[in-house]
């Protein structure tokens, strides 16, 4: 008989092994799932995980997909470290895209890159403002941020729908609910000659570096960590709880807004109803999978981008349902939570005769 016994101290090693274990379990479940559905498991997994990144074109697409996820996730990680549950990256991303587009469309013939900077800033501010609502309500009225950010997601989605069907709809676009394409001045330049990788990816990497410094070197980051691990200790030490709450929400909202505005000014080039295939929600998984650590998140966001690409490719090549991507994401997070148990507990073998339960003192 095998049972769980609490460790005396949380295992540092398991913190890193757990996501890998979760990944393996997801793969195994995926293989079984494919087999059950009548696909060749090997071919299917190959199509899902290897085929999308076989050439430089594929790598480039991977980075394009990873950019928004990375930006959202790195921001969420800051908030989650402080125990502020911002579930609203999706809405903040959409607002960034929406407001950024509204500004971009004011300059239909612009060639100047200063337009782009204005557009990007407005997207970031829009994301901040959207998260700021939750920050205001939490610090002023103690309103639970999980519920407010979720509700704000639905509101943002409806606002976006309204905009593409109404005020921002391209008058020359027949009946499609889309905006006019952006001018050259409001479009993100690509990073390399070939491929679609735009400077958004570079911005994401810069964000990772800045956040890394914030969380692991600065006193501000330490204060956030204390607040997240032990609110009462933070109060006792006199850390400015409300300011920190504002700060983490503005950072995560701003980064999600940046992700949104980079999507519309980069790979998409106009405002469309489905700006995001759930990047904001995928980022939640990425933040956890990356252990709320900037480097971990960088790796996890690439993996998540791969799942997106693989899902699309498998849909085209094998005819698997589009929802497979969502399913893989959900499984990954679940397995991760289950494996995380091993951080605090260890598996031990016990002889059958002794069934005494063990526990912490």
């Amino acid at each position: 008989m095998i049972k769980l016994q609490p460790r005396r101290e949380p295992s540092e090693l398991m913190v890193y092994i757990s996501p890998i274990l979760a990944g393996i379990l997801t793969l195994m479940t995926g293989a079984i799932l494919f087999a059950v559905l009548g696909y060749n498991s090997f071919t299917a997994l190959y199509t899902f995980l290897v085929a999308p990144i076989q050439d430089s074109q594929g790598i480039s697409e991977l980075l394009v997909k990873a950019s928004p996820i990375l930006m959202c996730a790195i921001g969420l990680a800051v908030a989650y470290r402080a125990n502020v549950w911002n579930i609203g990256a999706e809405g903040q991303l959409l607002m960034g895209a929406l407001v950024g587009s509204a500004v971009a469309l004011q300059f239909p013939d612009s060639e100047s890159k200063s337009t782009l900077i204005l557009v990007l800033i407005s997207g970031v501010l829009a994301g901040m403002a959207w998260a700021g609502i939750a920050a205001f309500l939490k610090t002023k009225f103690n309103t639970n941020e999980i519920l407010t950010t979720i509700m704000l997601n639905y509101i943002a989605l409806n606002l976006l729908q309204y905009a593409v069907h109404g005020p921002l709809k391209d008058p020359d676009g027949y009946s499609f609910p889309e905006s006019a394409p952006f001018s050259a001045g409001a479009t993100l330049p690509t990073l390399l000659e070939d491929g679609r990788v735009h400077i958004g990816f570079a911005l994401a990497v810069i964000a990772v570096l800045i956040i890394w410094f914030l969380v692991s070197k600065s006193f501000l980051g330490f204060q956030m960590k204390v607040m997240g691990m032990d609110e009462r200790a933070a109060k006792f030490a006199g850390y400015p709880e409300k300011k920190l709450t504002w700060l983490v929400l503005l950072i995560s909202g701003g980064l999600a807004g940046l992700a949104g505005v980079c999507e519309v000014t980069g790979p998409i080039g106009q405002l469309v109803p489905n700006v995001s295939p759930g990047y904001g929600y995928a980022a939640i998984i990425v933040a956890f999978l990356g252990r709320l650590h900037p480097v971990g998140i960088l790796i996890a966001s690439l993996l998540m981008a791969l799942i997106y690409l693989g899902g699309e490719l498998a849909q085209i090549k094998l005819g698997t349902p589009a929802a497979l991507t969502l399913l893989f994401q959900g499984m990954l997070l679940f397995y991760l939570l289950a494996c995380d148990v091993l951080i605090r507990y260890q598996l031990i073998k016990v002889p059958h005769s002794s069934t005494q339960a063990q526990g912490a003192n």
């Binding site: 691990m229 032990d230 200790a233």
Partner: protein, 509 residues
């Protein structure tokens, strides 16, 4: 009742927790009608042993016999059906429920007719002199009343063995006397009582026999009336530091902390509001505030520390001005340090290293530059605390949660004192720590006082306050009693204050 078949007998009880052997080869026998003391320091294994008797914890080895028959007690319900009742130190009551609902819950199926339960509760509480109103919600009861609920809960059923875990630690001296009368009445009716305590004079006064535990083992057995407190203390602490140092009492110099007409409405619906408190603490003196838990101590501490900000900044002043509206960090900059009552989860973050826990409040003292944490200096600071205050730990990267209570408390006190505070506010500084650590902490406080700091200690342990305070007062229902030099008052007088017997006019004067 014969001498050969005790009501309860334990043989060779052993319980191992990860990292500690809580009980090892424990033998104990209690006769009917006997009041038996279980004595021991914090961490000696008393709590584990009584949880085993009450079926909350299962022993790894050993046997229990009940009225001569060997049995296994697998859960509290079975213990209750045998006639074993328990009064917990941290009451196992539910604040939002009424007295009779609380009692019905614990009785399980034996609660009988819920409609007649209130009547039974009234009958029993009258018979044993413990007034209780069955329909009142528990959150509206005082600590003493809550203890009565716990006791009545045991008496509603047919009780043969009553276990009380440190029952007097939450009572005023007068309430203790009343409790002892009840317990003697119970014992005279044949009920066995297991009385857990570390207060020797109480054991001498009340108990017929005593079993003493040390480091999880039985270190002695005695008849308390035939022993001196000193001889029992030796059995409790072994060759460690002798009991009760006496410290010289001092008079302070100029006033550092001034509290005037402090009013504060508690944000907790179950809390106590502070009513017009005034208080002064001088440099070079230790002022003690006694009181039964839940009389406004938490609220007073929150107001003093800055965790709750006051609208009237002037209610709390330091020599350089009003601080009532300043947050804890601002007050620290003005020379205050603070030791909260909860070590883990407030004074220290459990899952952070000692280095990080040093930074927690030490950040004002050169550990942060330009917003960046100086890791070298932070580590040095933690190591200095560990060294100066003899904190037993493998190194400074051990998690706070891995330290024993006493060691962590030494670390926290050390962290605060090393910041050279001019005012130290400490809440229950030695709660739940062993005598060695308690002595070290007392000495550190005295040393800080002699160096000229103003110190305010709030504690439920009146003995401790008499030992270290230069002036003493009490808090009751959010109001402060008068303060007197410790040498000019008595435990009885402070006990009266703790029960609310004081003139508020006089206290304000």
């Amino acid at each position: 009742m014969t001498a050969t078949t005790p009501r309860l007998a334990l043989q060779g009880i052993r319980k191992q927790y990860p990292g500690t052997l809580a009980n090892d080869d424990i033998h104990l026998a209690i006769d009917s009608g006997e009041i038996h003391a279980l004595l021991g320091e914090n961490g000696a294994g008393k709590s584990t042993l009584m949880k085993i008797i009450y079926g909350v914890v299962k022993p790894d080895a050993g046997t229990l016999s009940w009225e001569g028959k060997t049995i296994q007690i697998k859960d509290p319900a079975q213990a209750r059906s045998l006639g074993i009742g328990m009064v917990f130190q941290h009451f196992s009551l539910f604040e939002t429920l009424t007295v009779s609902e609380n009692i019905a819950l614990a009785l399980g199926d034996q609660a009988g007719d819920l409609k007649t339960l209130p009547t039974r509760i009234r009958d029993i509480s009258q018979r044993y002199g413990m007034a209780l109103e069955p329909d009142r919600p528990v959150h509206s009861l005082s600590i003493g009343e809550r203890q009565r609920v716990e006791i009545v809960r045991c008496l509603v059923q047919n009780i043969k063995l009553l276990i009380l875990d440190e029952p007097t630690s939450v009572l005023t001296p007068q309430e203790v006397k009343t409790l002892f009368i009840t317990l003697r009445q119970l014992a005279s009716e044949g009920c066995s009582i297991l009385f857990i305590s570390h207060k020797l004079y109480e054991v001498k006064e009340l108990c017929h026999k005593a079993t003493i535990l040390r480091h999880g083992r039985v270190s002695g057995e005695c008849v308390p009336s035939q022993e001196s407190t000193l001889s029992m203390a030796k059995m409790m602490v072994g060759d460690e530091t002798p009991v009760s140092n006496t410290y010289e009492k001092k008079q302070g110099s100029e006033v550092f902390l001034t509290v005037t007409h402090l009013n504060l409405t508690s944000s907790d619906p179950f809390g106590t509001s502070l009513k017009n408190l005034s208080l002064q603490v001088r440099r070079g003196e230790i002022v003690g505030i006694a009181g039964v838990a839940g009389n406004g101590q938490e609220e007073l501490l929150a107001a003093l520390s800055g965790e709750v900000l006051l609208k009237t900044a002037d209610s709390i002043r330091f020599p350089d001005g009003a601080v009532g509206d300043l947050n804890p960090a601002e007050r620290r900059k003005r020379g205050m340090a603070f030791v909260p009552e909860d070590r883990l989860g407030r004074g220290a973050v459990p899952d952070m290293s000692l280095t990080e826990n040093g930074l927690l409040t030490g950040f004002l003292h050169g550990l942060v530059k330009g917003g960046v944490v100086l890791h070298g200096k932070t580590k040095q600071f933690a190591e200095q605390i560990i060294q100066d205050y003899k904190v037993k730990t493998p190194n400074s990267s051990a998690h706070a949660a891995s330290l024993s209570g006493g060691n962590l408390q030494k670390f926290i006190i050390g962290r605060e004192i090393l910041q050279n505070p001019q005012l130290l506010v400490a809440s229950h500084p030695t709660w739940g720590v062993d005598i060695g650590a308690a002595t070290a902490i007392h000495q550190a406080l005295i040393h800080l006082r002699d160096a000229g700091a103003a110190i305010l200690v709030i504690s439920e342990d009146t003995d401790e306050l008499f030992q270290i305070s230069d002036r003493i007062g009490a808090i009751f229902d959010g109001q402060l009693s008068p303060f007197k030099p410790t040498a000019q008052t008595t435990i009885d007088e402070v006990g009266q204050w703790m029960a609310g017997v004081f003139n508020t006019e006089e206290a304000l004067a």
